[in-house]
């Protein structure tokens, strides 16, 4: 980690009580109340789930989209440690923090959605595992990755607590942990796509393809960079810090590269399978497809030019659009373009929406508290001098 010439991270400081944290608190309290009902009286009491739609937004949004949003840590770590681009190092910690929350909450979200959650230990019990299952791969990978990320993030806590000894011990292992932290998300982010592959004809042809694992992996990578753009711009604005444009601009170029490959694969796949016809018929699914494509193509126009990439407004908007596009692709595959036949239908209940909102509120609140109290963001004074 030869990054000593870059600003060392430091706590932002400041008060923890403001309108944002209070709103988060209210949302979290609502979520807790709903979850209490859910765990006492079952899924049927609060969700609109049925046998045709056994997965609702708690899986499609909280877990599938949530974990894709949480790919910032993985994408940036890959850039810094695998491709040895040390100049992006200040982005690692905040990205990792967001990932940490995203994944930990995705893991918790799975528990909320499991009808008989008390049987979950079977998944990790060697005598009852099913190694041929995609779900098993996802579950084990995500669980491991959560642990790996907490270890990756542990130096921050050790720094704060002044436990240099522990920190040194962990850093000796860090190269292995970081390698694991790059491999694991690649495995399960692609497997999240495989989950849809095994659903076969129940998924609309526009989102059902053998290329899904690749599409989900590529989109997870650029969504990771998009989240970093989003998070960095948002943090700088909210904490009134200097924008990190000098890092974001070149990173956005890498993001566009991944995005371009993705668009080629996505469109090529739709064309090669001859399903483009399904995208021009008058249906909600076709509309969703074009909406999604628009979100993917717009950033190319928005920040395609080098000069435009220096404009934080455009960077931010491109990040948001890519997050939205990736989310739409996942939402369409798992819910909007998902059809089990019969007259089954699904729309989330108010309670489900509130729990999902609560989950995001936990992420925001956690991010605020930790960045204000722990050394995550780069020290501002040094930045200003530079």
């Amino acid at each position: 980690m030869a990054n000593n010439h870059y600003a060392a991270p430091a706590p932002v400081g400041g008060g923890l009580v403001n309108i944002v944290t209070l709103s988060c608190g209210v949302l979290i309290a609502l979520m807790a109340a709903i979850l209490m009902v859910r765990f006492l009286f079952g899924l049927g009491a609060v969700t609109a789930l049925n046998d045709g739609y056994p997965w609702g937004i708690w899986i499609a949004v909280d877990v599938v989209i949530g974990s894709a949003f949480a790919c910032g840590g993985f994408s940036v770590a890959m850039l810094v440690y695998i491709f040895n681009k040390g100049e992006y190092h200040p982005l690692v910690r905040p990205a990792l923090l967001a990932s940490l929350f995203g994944y930990t909450l995705a893991g918790a979200g799975v528990m909320f959605d499991l009808g008989r959650w008390w049987n979950v230990w079977n998944m990790f019990w060697p005598w009852s595992i099913n190694p041929n299952s995609v779900m098993f791969e996802v579950a084990v990978c995500i669980t491991l990755y959560i642990v790996v990320m907490w270890i990756e993030f542990s130096p921050v806590v050790f720094e704060k607590l002044g436990k240099d000894d522990a920190r040194r011990k962990v850093s000796k292992l860090m190269f292995f942990i970081i390698a694991l932290g790059t491999v694991l998300p690649m495995m399960h982010q692609s497997s999240l796509g495989t989950l849809l592959v095994v659903l076969g004809g129940q998924v609309h042809p526009l989102w059902q393809t053998p290329a899904l694992p690749l599409l989900y992996l590529l989109s997870a990578i650029f969504m990771g960079y998009a989240v970093v753009l989003f998070e960095s711009c948002l943090t700088s604005t909210a904490y009134r810090r200097k924008l990190e444009t000098h890092m974001l601009t070149p990173m956005a170029k890498i993001m566009l590269g991944v995005l371009a490959v993705f668009i080629v694969v996505r469109l090529g796949d739709v064309l090669m399978r001859g399903t483009l016809g399904r995208a021009v018929e008058p249906s909600v699914q076709a509309l969703m497809f074009w909406l999604e494509m628009a979100c993917f193509i717009a950033p190319l126009i928005l920040i395609g030019a080098e000069s435009n990439r220096r404009n934080p407004a455009r960077l931010f908007l491109a990040g948001v659009l890519l997050m939205l596009g990736g989310s739409l692709m996942r939402l369409s595959g798992f819910l909007i373009g998902y059809e089990t036949g019969g007259d089954f239908s699904y729309f989330p209940t108010l309670a489900e929406v509130l729990v999902t909102a609560g989950m995001f509120a936990v992420e925001v609140l956690g991010y605020i508290i930790i960045t204000r109290r722990f050394p995550v963001l780069p020290r501002e004074e040094l930045q200003a001098v530079k």
């Binding site: 455009r314 908007l317 239908s345 729309f347």
Partner: protein
């Protein structure tokens, strides 16, 4: 099927004799013979052989021993509603020793037994009712100073056939119940076969259906041998099927309709008693197909709303708690059955649609505002930079 009069030879003298002897009309007698033949699963026409065998009145000597038991088996045999049952059994056989029914007492009774054994050596039928205590050399059950073990061995030595009636004699029954706190029953009770060390015919049940016993005896009279037995010595005609297989409530089981507690609506509607602990699924007996005690077909535990306790089955009756759910020997039902009409989901409610719209709107609004602010500050910065750059340009020029 032929002329019934010919098959039964209804004009024969012996039929009139049996009518007088048994004090029952011929019609009823022949009905009884047909019932027994059907219970045994014998082919059509066998009832005539049964009738002739009973008419012949060879009256084999029967010695009936009582050990650790409640005499319920004898009682059920005698208290059957059928008006001539006890007459028949007492007339068809020569009951030379039965502690409850014999007139003799004390040494006289024991002398009668010894005399019968001597006179009918190798020909008498030995019926055993009750388990045999084995602990402390069997001192827990003594008759005329003789332990149950000795008496059984003595009587069995020259018997033509040994029949164990009831669960106690068959495999130990209630006295052999082992408490969870010890590894044997208080008196070490055992069944007849265990003491004799050889298989005997067993008619388990607490009490068994008298017809199962009677049919087996009549089979012996008719054919001179015991009916076909399973590996536990039970006659196959009565014990080859699980109670569950032919249960009158079986349709409820298959449809997943269970009484969940006594007196609930399912229980009142006659639903399956499996979840109340019915041991029918792991008990081999014909209770569900052969009415008990001639009092109508509902006159058995399941028929009157109580789960079967598996009284005839070793390891089940008196051993498993009454309301413990039975181990399914064939198909285990799932915990829950799918509903027939599945909820298919509802359209968006106003509240949920509004919530989704509000979240989306708030996110979009915030994103637009932030983009605008970022854009404005960027424009300002750019403007400042150009302003700062201009004087330099001038200076340079």
């Amino acid at each position: 099927m032929g002329n019934l009069n010919e098959i039964f030879d209804t004009g024969r003298e012996t039929l009139r004799d049996v009518e007088r002897r048994l004090d029952m009309p011929r019609r009823e007698f022949l009905q009884f013979c047909a019932t027994v033949a059907a219970t045994l699963g014998l082919p059509a026409g066998a009832e005539a052989a049964v009738a002739k065998a009973i008419e012949a009145a060879r009256r084999p000597s029967v010695i009936w021993l009582h050990f650790q038991e409640c005499t319920g088996c004898s009682e059920s045999l005698l208290r059957a509603e059928h008006p001539t049952l006890e007459k028949l059994i007492l007339d068809v056989i020569s009951l030379d020793y039965h502690e409850t029914l014999m007139a003799a007492a004390g040494h006289q009774a024991e002398a009668a037994r010894k005399a019968a054994m001597k006179a009918n050596k190798g020909k008498y039928v030995l019926v055993v009712e009750g388990a045999i205590p084995t602990k402390a050399n069997g001192i827990y059950c003594k008759i005329g100073g003789q332990t149950a073990i000795d008496m059984l061995k003595e009587c069995a030595a020259d018997a033509a056939a040994v029949i164990a009636i009831g669960s106690c004699a068959s495999w130990g029954g209630m006295p052999s119940t082992i408490s969870p706190l010890s590894d044997s029953s208080p008196t070490g009770s055992a069944g007849v076969a265990e003491i004799l060390g050889k298989p005997v015919m067993t008619i388990p049940g607490c009490p068994p259906n008298p017809y199962n016993f009677l049919a087996a005896v009549v089979h012996f009279l008719t054919f001179g041998k015991l009916p076909e037995l399973d590996k536990l010595g039970r006659p196959k005609f009565a014990y080859s099927r699980l109670i569950h297989e032919n249960c009158e409530r079986r349709a409820h089981f298959d449809a997943g309709r269970f009484a969940m507690e006594f007196g609930d609506s399912g229980h009142r509607q006659g639903y399956c008693l499996y979840k109340l602990g019915c041991k029918g699924p792991e008990t081999y007996a014909n209770c569900s197909t052969l009415g008990f005690g001639d009092a109508g077909e509902n006159n058995w535990p399941v028929g009157c709303g109580h789960p079967c306790i598996g009284c005839s089955e070793k390891g089940v009756g008196f051993q498993k708690p009454i309301h413990q759910v039975a181990k399914m020997l064939n198909v285990t039902p799932p915990l829950q059955y799918p509903r027939i009409v599945e909820a298919q989901g509802k359209a968006a409610s106003f509240a949920s649609a509004a919530a989704v719209a509000a979240v989306a709107g708030a996110a979009a609004g915030a994103a637009i505002m932030l983009t605008r602010n970022l854009g404005l500050s960027h424009a300002a910065e750019e403007a400042e930079r150009t302003k700062a750059a201009k004087p330099e340009d001038k200076a340079g020029a």
